[in-house]
């Protein structure tokens, strides 16, 4: 491979909090070309540096922030950051993606990645201003919520354009459902906030002035023009999505009867769209926010204008949060969801996991399995109890402590059959698609390398009817293993290139890989092809699978909650649907075959060799 001429800076910053040192290291050019950036660069670094069996909350675990070669350029929809670590919630590799302005600011410091390792003796924050790196005391910020942390740090640094990634009380208290917040955006899911908290790291602040070099400026500009043209021609991106954000999905999933309700026991019983769809939330709209260089600006800022939550605003709620702090709790009040979303962001709680944990607690309470709630009446629909419970989880107070480490652990701690009501896969709480009515989502939840994670293989074909790579019947199981593999590799490409998946799913699907290849080629001066970009996604999925295999994961862990395999959907247009063990086995067999993995879900040496990650072959279990 020839040397690159732009895009990457070729550098990572390694910060050791134990001995309070930092150094800049060159990244091997072959590694950059093969893993590019974002999720794959993070996965490669984690694979090489975090040994199997590492305690996710111990100093040996690492937090890896990674951007990509087009982050911080003029490319649209490319202000994306990937955080990779070993998840304390699932024990798998964790990656989380966030947008906003932090990613580009980090890139402008001249870095492609930041690795945080060790553990500080007292709370600290890391300040990176171009080449200057400081590890400073964060004692005065410890205990603050995420919004106050950002405000006060900016004031103290006298720089209101500095960008900050930080934890709130949930991360400080090592809640395994905590997240990391930059601006109002979350590096969510998988307990990444607890990893940051375990290192006594309150925040990372970045400010950069370095321009990202572009190898072929003319070509790069032409591709951007083409990218924007496709977005402009989309019937969804500007006409609908930019005005609704992800909340537009409520209408489809609710109408088709797979919008989950009341901890997944009442999916389909009521069409919730009239209460919670994007038309309803539009009435709360204030303005729209955008990530750097995003022409879509899908992030809807909404505010409760009357009633008990009047004056509370949030960036969102996104579709997932409308589910987790709304339908799954039996709550149909948009103003409440706005307020609860804001609260979770401030506390640094992942909205999906936190809401699903509350939903589980409510069902256990109503069924009389768990009633030791210190007088808190945890019934579905109880808004006040939900807000109290969310706060208690963030601070790990009282009975809520049991749920603050996720539903799987709550089920194990409570016993008495409580685990049946834990809606999780590999410990990660389920997102907002009831897979009984959308089977490709089911295979993805079961097999995604981070646990039940819609972002790792979103089946837009089942939700929006997008006929690419082909039209699918959402209720069929045949073909869904192959489709899940396709979707995971599709999403993987974007996670590696650090491009936003939303426009890709909605306006660019037929040309997404080609455009991505051209953008990467134009920026770096290296040759990327459409097929090569597809392989980036496949390589990512296999590398992450191998990280998990090395930790002992296999087919036995590719499962779904028992409820979804034993209880059919009660009513609505998906009535009677479920995924039996036999159905799941059929889809898994198909999926593994499509992936080139064996029946136990272990990648073959030949596949790893084909993808250029032959150094992982040594970690295959003996006999596979």
């Amino acid at each position: 491979m020839k040397n690159f001429a732009g895009g990457w800076f070729g550098k990572l910053l390694r910060i050791n909090l134990t001995d309070r040192t930092s150094r800049v290291e060159e990244i091997d050019h072959t590694v950059l070309y093969k893993f590019v950036g974002g999720a794959a660069l993070g996965a490669k670094l984690l694979y090489d540096e975090v040994s199997p069996g590492t305690d996710p909350l111990g100093p040996e675990n690492k937090l890896i922030y990674a951007v990509g070669p087009i982050t911080g350029t003029d490319a649209p929809c490319a202000s994306r950051l990937n955080l990779t670590t070993k998840s304390p919630l699932t024990g798998t590799l964790a990656n989380s993606l966030s947008g906003g302005f932090f990613p580009v600011e980090m890139k402008w410091t001249g870095l492609d990645a930041i690795i945080i390792e060790g553990k500080a003796a007292e709370p600290v924050y890391v300040l990176v201003r171009d080449n200057k790196v400081e590890i400073k005391s964060a004692v005065k910020y410890w205990g603050l919520n995420t919004q106050d942390t950002q405000t006060y740090l900016k004031e103290d640094l006298d720089d209101h354009n500095i960008r900050i990634s930080c934890i709130g009380p949930a991360g400080e208290n090592l809640s395994l459902i905590s997240c990391i917040i930059n601006e109002c955006r979350a590096l969510g899911r998988k307990g990444v906030g607890a990893v940051m908290g375990s290192k006594n790291l309150k925040a990372i602040a970045v400010r950069g002035t370095k321009k990202v070099p572009i190898a072929n400026q003319k070509k790069f500009k032409e591709i951007i023009k083409e990218f924007l043209k496709y977005l402009g021609e989309s019937e969804l991106v500007y006409p609908v999505f930019s005005k609704t954000g992800s909340s537009l999905a409520v209408g489809a999933t609710s109408a088709l009867g797979f919008f989950p309700a009341k901890n997944w026991q009442d999916t389909g019983v009521e069409d919730l769209a009239p209460h919670l769809d994007s038309n309803v939330f539009a009435q709360y709209g204030q303005t729209r926010n955008r990530c750097y260089r995003c022409p879509v600006a899908c992030s809807q800022v909404r505010m409760a204008k009357t009633g008990r939550y009047a004056g509370i605003s949030t960036e969102g709620p996104e579709y997932e949060t409308i589910y987790s702090l709304g339908s799954v709790l039996g709550i149909k009040d948009p103003a409440f969801i706005i307020a609860a979303d804001r609260l979770c962001d401030e506390l640094g709680l992942d909205t999906i996991s936190a809401g699903v944990a509350v939903g589980m607690a409510m069902e256990l309470y109503e069924r009389g399995i768990f009633t030791a709630t210190d007088g808190l009446e945890l019934k579905f629909g109880n808004q006040e109890a939900t807000l109290t419970f969310l706060r208690m989880m963030a601070y790990k107070e009282g009975f809520a402590k049991i749920f603050a480490d996720g539903t799987k652990r709550a089920g194990q701690a409570i016993g008495n059959g409580a685990g049946y009501y834990a809606m999780e896969v590999k410990g990660l709480e389920l997102p907002a698609y009831d897979v009984r009515g959308a089977k490709a989502h089911g295979v993805n939840y079961a097999t995604a390398y981070t646990g039940a994670d819609h972002n790792r293989g979103y089946a837009s074909q089942e939700v929006f009817g997008i006929p690419i790579p082909y039209p699918v019947e959402r209720l069929e199981i045949k073909g869904k293993g192959v489709l899940a593999k396709w979707n995971q590799d599709f999403c993987g490409c974007y996670d590696v290139a650090t491009l936003c998946e939303f426009p890709a799913q909605m306006g660019l699907m037929p040309v997404a890989q080609k455009l991505t290849a051209d953008l990467l080629s134009g920026a770096t001066g290296c040759e990327f092809t459409e097929q090569g970009v597809w392989q980036l996604g496949e390589r990512l999925n296999n590398l992450c699978r191998m990280f998990n295999v090395r930790e002992g994961f296999s087919r036995k862990d590719d499962c779904l909650p028992r409820r979804l395999m034993e209880e059919p959907i009660k009513d609505g247009l998906s009535k009677g649907e479920m995924i039996s063990q036999q159905d799941l086995d059929f889809m898994l067999d198909e999926y593994y075959e499509a992936r080139g993995w064996d029946k136990n879900g272990i990648p073959s040496a030949a596949k790893l060799q084909e993808l250029g990650i032959e150094d992982t072959i040594k970690d295959l279990p003996s006999g596979s």
């Binding site: 609704t244 209408g251 088709l256 994007s278 038309n279 039209p471 019947e473 247009l573």
Partner: protein
């Protein structure tokens, strides 16, 4: 005559003036027969979205019969029975 629920989101809901309406179908009517009646009832405002110029069904609106995408149903399954629910879901539109 079989009573059928016609349900729609987005622009279909706007045209119908409600998220769902009830219609009566003649014995032996198919989904397409009832859609034609629906279109006629609303001044042919639906047909532009539901059908292409050559009369074939447009890809822009998904049509479900009792939750099943009719693209994947055989002709016999498209004959309506009492209590059937037809859902018109514009592709790429949710709310």
């Amino acid at each position: 005559m079989p009573k059928i629920i016609m349900r729609g989101t987005s622009f279909v809901q706007e045209i119908m003036g409600a998220r769902e309406i009830e219609m009566e179908a003649k014995e032996g009517s198919t989904v397409d027969n009832l859609l034609a009646e629906l279109d006629a009832r609303f001044d042919r405002r639906l047909s532009k979205r539901l059908y292409n110029e050559d009369g074939s069904r447009s890809n822009l609106v998904r049509i479900f019969l009792n939750g099943r995408d009719i693209c994947f149903l055989d002709k016999k399954a498209l004959i309506l029975s009492d209590g059937d629910i037809i859902l018109l879901l514009p592709v790429l539109a949710g709310g």
